[in-house]
């Protein structure tokens, strides 16, 4: 489904990703694991077109997305949920969800999509009229996931959903990602904590200083304590 080949990307004078290749199959959940500052966010930004790759190729369903503007990448079905704080603080929960369905095909089906999101995240249904900036950290993360689901995404790219959350909330957020996986979407998740993705990931990559150093089935890699200790510390 998603195929990344020899991707190189960076900012200004510094190169962050070095000849990086990975793939995500249909319905698969793939996790890229690395500590902070090793290029996880850059990888997702390069795939979604927020930064221009310097070399390499991004392919989705045999469509070349390498130098394509972000809105067309979204149209192709690749939706990136960025890390950190909620993007549209001065819009209500409902408005945030609706804007997730901006593409006209998604917009036409927005009421059904909204229902599906509220089913997954009942909490958001009760907060529809609240401004996003009044939500707690965990609620904001749920909103970001819900907004991703409003789109016509077939592949969701999720950037470190646990960042800055308390353990209880982290559990809720990953439960939500499990639900998304069960709904049949392909997921590319980048994370720094191996425990969070246990039971969620089908396949994993370990990323170090912008280079993919290991690839394998999640249940194999996640049992290899020595390996995890080496790369994640």
């Amino acid at each position: 489904m998603l195929k990344v080949e020899d991707l190189e990307a960076g900012y200004g004078g510094s190169q962050v990703l070095h000849s990086l290749s990975l793939r995500v199959g249909d319905g698969e959940t793939v996790v890229v694991l690395a500590p902070n500052g090793h290029g996880k966010t850059t990888l997702l930004r390069a795939i979604s077109g927020l930064i221009r790759p310097r070399a390499g190729r991004v392919e989705f369903d045999a469509m070349d997305l390498t130098m394509v503007p972000t809105e067309q990448i979204v149209a192709a079905g690749v939706v990136h949920i960025p890390q950190g704080d909620l993007p549209f603080p001065e819009m209500t929960v409902l408005e945030n969800l609706l804007i997730g369905a901006y593409r006209s095909d998604a917009w036409r089906a927005r009421s059904e999509r909204l229902e599906r999101v509220f089913e997954l995240f009942p909490l958001l249904a009760n907060r529809q009229r609240h401004l996003a900036r009044s939500l707690s950290g965990g609620e904001r993360r749920m909103l970001a996931l819900g907004r991703g689901l409003m789109s016509t995404a077939r592949l969701l790219m999720i950037d470190e959903p646990s960042l800055g959350l308390s353990p209880v909330v982290i559990e809720q957020v990953y439960a939500a990602i499990h639900a998304i996986k069960r709904a049949g979407l392909s997921i590319l998740l980048v994370d720094e904590n191996a425990e969070h993705v246990d039971g969620l990931a089908d396949r994993m990559y370990l990323l170090e200083a912008g280079v993919l150093v290991r690839e394998g089935a999640a249940d194999v890699l996640l049992r290899d304590q020595a390996l995890l200790a080496t790369y994640l510390g």
Binding site: S48, G49, L50, P69, T70, E71, V74, A75, V79, H80, I81, P82, P87, F88, P89, E90, M91, E95, L98, I99, G100, Y102, R103, S104, W107, R133, R147, S151
Partner: protein, 293 residues
């Protein structure tokens, strides 16, 4: 006393309506692509001149002409955006480049008007003639038409920004451009929509006010200046704040003019703005960088 109060209220709401039309367009542009649109005043006056030109050439009904003139102003905005602003959006120095491009556009528009219509003052016929007296205050029907149209348009615009797909996209861009891209929102086409709406509102203000005030090719400058004051006062980029600010400033202007003296009206507003910016640097309704539209 009561008459003076009524007079101040009436002209204050009238001022506020025109400022609201002008300033909400400026704030939309600032909110979405951080450009101070110095061509706004020229588009305003162009709206009035297009109506004037159409009326003298074709003698169609006044309302039809006015609608066409608003369309003409929107078209001018479209041309400015496509020809001058879009090509420099990717430019690293686009803040100052767009400022100068907009200034250039305003000079071109004013010179074109001067060439075609000359420099004498002009006036448009009102949509509705006549008026009535309440006490000693003369309320013209045209004044009420201006107020009604402005309130309706500002209301429609805020509804548009809240429920329509494009409106939500404009607000999303103004709050976080990268995140808006990730929603699949095409950035540059949305800028074009913003510019067209904003120019139509400026043209509407010009057409409506053209039958109350005389206008010359340079007559757009003062309304644009006042609109900038309103925009800063309301908190740059906040449409709701801008609409409130428009009426507050309009009323303040007329109350100072009636109760203190007309010569104090404008200087009083600037004094008030300076004081307010000391107390609330982000504007009356501004909540800082994060608060947009």
């Amino acid at each position: 006393m009561l008459d003076a109060l009524l007079q101040a209220l009436y002209s204050g709401v009238l001022n506020g309506s025109v400022y609201g039309l002008m300033a909400s367009g400026l704030t939309l542009i600032w909110g979405s692509f951080r450009m101070l649109n110095l061509a706004h005043g020229a588009v305003y006056v162009a709206g009035a001149y297009i109506a004037y030109g159409l009326l003298s050439a074709l003698a169609w009904p006044v309302p039809v002409t006015f609608v066409l003139a608003v369309g003409g102003a929107a078209l001018i905005g479209l041309v400015i955006q496509l020809a001058l602003i879009n090509p420099i959006l990717e430019n690293p120095g686009r803040d100052s480049a767009s400022l100068i491009a907009a200034l250039a556009a305003s000079i071109v528009i004013q010179s074109a008007i001067l060439l075609v219509f000359g420099g004498q003052t002009k006036q448009l016929p009102p949509l509705l003639d006549g008026g009535f007296k309440v006490g000693t205050t003369l309320m013209s029907y045209q004044g009420l038409v201006v107020i009604g149209t402005a309130v309706a348009c500002l209301f429609l615009m805020s509804v548009f920004l809240r429920v329509s797909r494009r409106g939500l996209a404009i607000r999303a861009i103004s709050q976080n451009m990268d995140a808006a891209r990730l929603m699949g929102i095409p950035i540059v086409p949305t800028f074009v929509v913003v510019m067209v709406i904003s120019s139509a509102l400026a043209g509407l203000a010009g057409v409506l006010l053209g039958s109350i005030l005389f206008f010359t090719p340079a007559a757009g400058f003062t309304p644009m200046l006042m609109a900038m004051v309103v925009t800063i006062f309301g908190g740059l980029g906040s449409v709701t704040g801008t609409i409130w600010a428009a009426y507050i400033i309009g009323l303040m202007e007329s109350f100072v003019a009636v109760f203190v003296g007309p010569s104090w009206a404008v200087s009083g507003i600037f004094l008030f703005m300076v004081l307010m910016l000391v107390i609330r640097p982000n504007g009356l309704f501004g909540l800082g960088e994060a608060r947009r539209l």
